[in-house]
Amino acid sequence: MQYIVGVDIGGTFTDCVVLDTAAENGVAVEIGKASSTPPDFQTGFLHALEAGARGHDLTLQALLRSARVFHGCTVGTNALVEGKTARVGLLSTRGHIDATFIMRSGARLKWMPSQYIAHVAKQTKPEPLVPRALCEEIDERVAFDGAAVVDLNEDLAREAIVRLVDKGVEAIAISLIWSTANPSHERRLRDLVNEIAPNLFVSISSEVSARVGEYERTVATVINAMIGPPMRHYLEALEGDLAANGFSGKLQIMSCAGGLIDSDLARSLPVLTIGSGPVAGLIGATNLSLSKVGGSTNVVTADVGGTTLDIGTIHHGVPIRRPTASHGQFEYFVSTLDVRSVGSGGGSIIRAGDNALKVGPDSAAANPGPICFGRGGRLPTVTDAAALLGYYDPDYFFGGRIRLAIDPAREALSELGATFGMSAEEAAASAMRIVNAQMADAIWLTLTQQGYDARDFVLYGFGGGGGLHAGEIARELGIHTAVVPLSDLAAGWSAFGIAASDALVNESAGMSMASPFDPDIINEQWRRLEARVLDKLANQGIALEDIELSHHAELRYALQTNQVAVSVEGGDYDAGGVERMVAVFEAEYERLFGQGSGYSAAGMQLTSLEVRGHGPMSDVAIENVEMGDAGADFPGKRERDVRWATGMQSTPIFEGTRLRRGWSAEGPAILEFPDTTILVAPGDSAAIHDTGSVVLTVGGKQ
């Protein structure tokens, strides 16, 4: 196929990139943008596609006839956030139906902001995902060793299912204790549901997320069921529209695991699409890191939006994963790239604290937005501070789509600053420093928790605010190189990441095996998981010879809780294979937690086996992407006064899209792109890399 299309639907805009892989100079890129059209997002999808096709002088139909279509789909996320999900009934083992109400007590607060954790009187639990009236207990029991100590009581189960169906549930989630060790009861229950109510969406925990831990597994299963019907509805409509316009291929959907899955799998496991937006950005960064933009394959990413900062980590060119994600206070199992959100962004509100200004974590978001947007925002935000400091051209913010009103922002900041004897500009500078330090602290904590030292990394800053903060965050962290990737594409960055993704399917088995490990059991699991992965990838249209399988095991020391996932060899295990797996685990454990930190005398536990299958969906490499050199050496567009940490300085402003590869400049300077603004502080320098990325060299700490 000549064209690769990546589409990313956001709350406000739908972005699309169309790559022409047969262009003269490698790969030609066009961006299409359209307003999102909730609740029928497929309409905005087609509009964006049409715009992208126009860039290549194509009709929508002509494009679709020879394109692969990759899609970052937020329908599930939106349905959850807006509470427009299916009515779900839950079946759990008798005695354990309360797991999603108990929420492991204080564990629910783990990812909440510190202000919330500290204020005990204001803490609460969210509304339950499944109301009590729709929870049914099933008489059956499997033990940790997989033994069915109570057989499934089918008569009572049928009655329970009928009760739920009579109450009008639109989907059923089934999550039984130790279904990871023996899924037969879950499967049988699904058969019963299919028999009683053939059209209901059913999800079972051993297939949604086969990890040990019933609370997080049940939440994953419930969320999957909640968004199953809306996802099914959306994909049917979208695929209908695409087919009507000549598309005969299979729609590929971005998953939070960091790769593409086909739409059939997205229909049965929609939970995999939640959080795929930020993950796509991290995949784009991973791609770029492999070309060593910034000089390292160790990259920490800062995706700065209006409300949140999303942090991702790439180590030796491989993005770091984690086994859980969160929906508010609900934590659930899903194999995802580790992207952590903190409440820090352009919309973060600036307030007067007792001794100093405080920034965030609450945000004015898009509505009412910063004061300077003139949409009714009354509270000053980071964007207001940036505008006041001269970082933004009031007439060219967001490519001129929003005109900034500086005076009201100045007024509000002046009032705030007065508390501390600061002028409006001083207050703005103070807020800017505080938010930069906050972002850097959050990144530092993330890396420290992952066992890394920030100074071994380069920073990639993207999202609308990436260019504004990248240099200062890097400086705080002692990082010398900050990259604003493909600055021209800033707005289409997620869509680009989607277009650059491979197919990726994971299959895992939750285990509870004590050492010495039996290689026969391991082999049996490998073969079973491999077969499932190959089957799914074949359905996705990947040729067998293109599939790359990788094997991963998760172990812990018997008396310690840290579970460590490691890459291990595939093939047939014998005693030697087991030994090598253990050795890899022990080495990684030491790397993460320090020499001698593991206690091997009491043995080990194998907690999970996973097979991942990769298949190429396109052979687009970032370095081949042709961005087009718009103009010759372009002088400073103009100069304006900008307030830097070192003081007020007249600063050259460059129009980013007209800068050639190889161009460079010493700070102070500002590079303006339609969707992002890049600060080059005094003492720092900027250069345009071959990929079109802006590379900042950051001086010492100021």
Partner: protein, 755 residues
């Protein structure tokens, strides 16, 4: 202000308490870094404050990661950053009282050891002496001095729970210890790491005390790595901003906490608030209860905290040392009144004077047994929570931050061997899923967890079954376990287990305060206490038959059994065999306000959701769908309660000040030339301004089993315990409810100071 006599409070017999002039005894050769930047840029302040918070969190993370211990993974530790003279700058959102000993231990070290063996760069001290710095011996403190420019700049410290440090019962909770010689080993502060090098001899000595030396060695390594990490980061911070600037920020944080606390105190009228709590069974099966009392006198911007009225210590495990008592108090202040400071509560202590009577249960002298008594710290925190909440009820500004006490801590330990011959012996920490107390504006959170440790969590059932050879038959939210009230306490849990692939299994029970006899969380301002919990074994049940018939029990009581064996609050090992079911309840939180004030729709909803039983709805809330008069009848029945006969010597002249609400149902107001305490609903005079409002109330004394689902305390203790209810004689609103030993005079609860 009390000036503890340094000779008496030396940590030998009485607990160590630094005297006002403790610094005078620090060796002059130990230079303290006391330089403070004269001007602190507010932005620098905020940036440094954030960084200290982040460093402290990463310190904690370092500990859990390196140790990998399931105990530390449940966050049974806490870590702090302190100034050179041991003011707490930063504490963490884990168990609040746990590192309260750091300032004491560090001051002790500075006072006693600054000459020899000296305090040097790279040193790390270790201590688990409960008369100096440890809440009990199992929570071992590690403190690292931080040097900048050759001077002592500050301290990084953590305290964490160990697997085992000897003593007569594995795990360190000996309930049958008469004195400290049966407890785990006691180690006064010693320098374990000298100028960066571990003293191998002392490490060996330390590990030698444990039944599980390898595991303790891992935790030792983790805790040392934690303080080292924090120390390095703070030194770097000083390198970047200048030590004097960082110190200025630290001082300002401490001052800020002090100032914020001071301002809040000023919004509360002067007076004294008192709470009486009991602690059962000094020794297992001793069938008696003992009394503690906590009084907080607030005058202007200061608090005086006293334990007068507390019983003298006796042999057994009912006592806590001074550090635990004081830590319980500051821990609760931290989460209730200083949440804006994010656990940087340090400065609040400057506003507090402790009047501790040594030799009593809440300030035990050496050589009392203390390790098994640590759960009574929760009892004290609940007492402080009740007192502080009632104080905050007298402040419009603070009323929204009231939380009723949560449950007492129930801690069963399972010990034995699985069928592979592997030993197990750890506590089930489901106590961390207790219900939280009601608030002034809403219900407590069901299985929300204790207010004194917001992040503490419970394991998944599947994890429990990996660690122990058991089947967890049920783990349910427990109806009626929260205290009733206008706002009810959150419900706790009910857990049932049976052995599975076990060779042997014994159950050991440990309980704080009155948790297994009389009550869990106190009720506030007319709300009811939450009922006590229980431990029970149903021996020889028909479980196997039931399971073979494809059924599971709903509770341990809907299945036939040969015998029902109730385990007391403290017991040292009862076998659990195949076919037996062990059930325990984790309590709920206390209620707030008169249950008859509860919106009937909420009662109906609670019944529908199974949060309360129809019986409780009828008997406590007067809610009966069939009988619309049930509520008014219940209210009218209070008219038969007895009037207290009290003298009224507390007349205070009218002040002309506006009315002041001092309680959900009581207001201070001028009436006929007198300042009185009157019912806020009907205006009935209850007492003179500086009297006890209970004096004018109607009272009744009923059995504790009146509380829905409450067990009879007589099962375990011979002292007769009663529930006392108080109502306004005018409108019959229930204004107070408390639990007392029969014959005790009415608890005053509060008495305002006449100006």
């Amino acid at each position: 202000m009390t000036k503890p006599d340094p000779k008496a409070w030396s940590g030998k017999v009485h607990s160590y308490r630094p005297a006002a002039d403790w610094k005078a005894r620090v060796d002059d050769r130990l230079e303290l870094h006391e330089d403070v930047a004269e001007v602190l840029d507010p932005t620098d302040y905020e940036v440094i404050r954030q960084k200290l918070w982040t460093i402290n969190l990463a310190h904690g993370d370092t500990i859990t990661r390196i140790s990998g211990s399931p105990v530390l993974a449940t966050l049974d530790f806490n870590m702090s950053i302190l100034t050179e003279d041991a003011d707490v700058v930063m504490n963490a959102p884990y168990i609040q009282f746990l590192n309260a000993g750091a300032p004491l231990g560090i001051r002790y070290i500075m006072e006693n050891y600054s000459t020899a063996p000296g305090i040097d760069e790279g040193d790390i001290f270790c201590c688990n002496d409960p008369w100096i710095a440890a809440c009990h011996q199992m929570d071992v403190l590690f403190a690292a001095p931080i040097f900048c420019e050759g001077k002592l700049f500050g301290w990084a410290a953590n305290a964490g729970h160990q697997y085992d440090l000897g003593g007569i019962v594995p795990g360190g909770w000996p309930q049958n210890a008469e004195d400290v010689y049966s407890d785990p080993v006691v180690l006064p502060p010693f320098k374990l790491v000298e100028k960066g090098v571990m003293r191998r001899d002392l490490e060996a000595l330390y590990l030698r005390q444990s039944r599980l030396p390898d595991m303790v060695a891992l935790d030792l390594r983790a805790q040392l790595a934690g303080v080292r990490f924090a120390r390095e980061q703070i030194v770097q911070l000083c390198g970047r901003f200048g030590a004097a600037t960082v110190k200025a920020a630290m001082r300002q944080m401490v001052d800020q906490a002090q100032e914020s606390f001071r301002k809040k105190l000023l919004s509360i009228p002067d007076g004294t608030w008192t709470e009486t709590r009991y602690i059962d069974e000094p020794m297992p099966f001793s069938r008696t209860t003992q009394r503690t009392q906590l009084s907080v006198t607030k005058k202007g911007d200061r608090l005086t905290i006293s334990n007068a009225g507390t019983d003298a210590q006796t042999p057994g495990t009912n006592g806590i040392p001074f550090v635990t008592w004081a830590g319980s108090i500051t821990g609760i202040i931290s989460v209730s009144m200083l949440y804006e400071q994010l656990f940087a509560y340090g400065g609040c202590e400057r506003q507090i004077d402790y009047e501790a009577t040594p030799g009593t249960l809440t300030c035990v002298d050496y050589p009392a047994a203390v390790s098994g008594g640590i759960l009574h710290a929760v009892t004290m925190m609940n007492a402080m929570q009740a007192v502080l909440s009632r104080m905050m009820a007298a402040s419009e500004e603070l009323k929204g931050d009231i939380v009723a006490p949560c449950a007492e801590f129930m801690l069963p330990v399972l010990i034995g061997f699985n069928d592979r011959g592997e030993y197990f012996g750890q506590a089930i920490l489901d106590g961390f899923a207790c219900g939280s107390g009601a608030r002034s504006f809403g219900d407590g959170v069901d299985t929300g967890g204790p207010n004194f440790s917001p992040l503490s969590m419970i394991l998944n059932t599947e994890q429990l079954e990996q660690w122990y050879p058991i089947l967890c038959l049920y783990r349910r939210s427990d109806p009626d376990s929260g205290g009733a009230g206008k706002w009810r306490g959150g419900n706790g849990l009910r857990l049932g287990i049976t052995p599975y692939r076990a060779q042997s299994m014994d159950i050991v029970t440990n309980t704080g305060g009155q948790g297994a006899t009389s009550q869990n969380g106190q009720g506030l301002l007319g709300g009811l206490p939450s009922p006590a919990s229980h431990y029970v074994i149903r021996k020889g049940t028909e479980l196997a038959t039931l399971m073979a018939g494809k059924r599971l029990p709903q509770t341990a009581f809907d299945i036939a059994a040969e015998e029902t064996l109730w385990l007391g609050p403290k017991s040292n090992g009862t076998p659990l065999s195949k076919g037996d079911i062990f059930e325990f309840r984790v309590g709920g939180g206390g209620g707030y306000g008169d249950p008859l004030d509860r919106d009937p729709q909420l009662v109906a909803r609670d019944i529908e959701l199974g949060a309360i039983s129809p019986d409780a709805a009828r008997n406590v809330y007067g809610f009966d769908p069939e009988d619309s008069n049930a509520r008014s009848r219940l209210r009218e029945s209070r008219g038969k309660w007895r009037k207290l006969e009290t003298s009224d010597e507390t007349r205070v002249l009218a002040t002309g000040e506006p009315d002041l609400a001092i309680h959900e149902y009581v207001v201070a107001t001028d009436r006929n030339g007198e300042r009185v305490l009157a019912c806020a609903k009907c205006g009935e005079r209850l007492a003179g301004f500086s009297g006890s409002y209970k004096d004018g109330a109607l009272v009744t004394e009923v059995a504790i089993t009146t509380i829905p689902s409450a067990p009879d305390p007589a099962r375990y203790i011979d002292d007769e315990m009663v529930l006392r209810l108080f109502a306004c004689p005018g409108c019959l609103t229930q204004v107070s409810a408390d639990i007392a030993r029969a014959g005790e005079p009415v608890f005053e609860e509060m008495r305002l100071a006449a100006t």
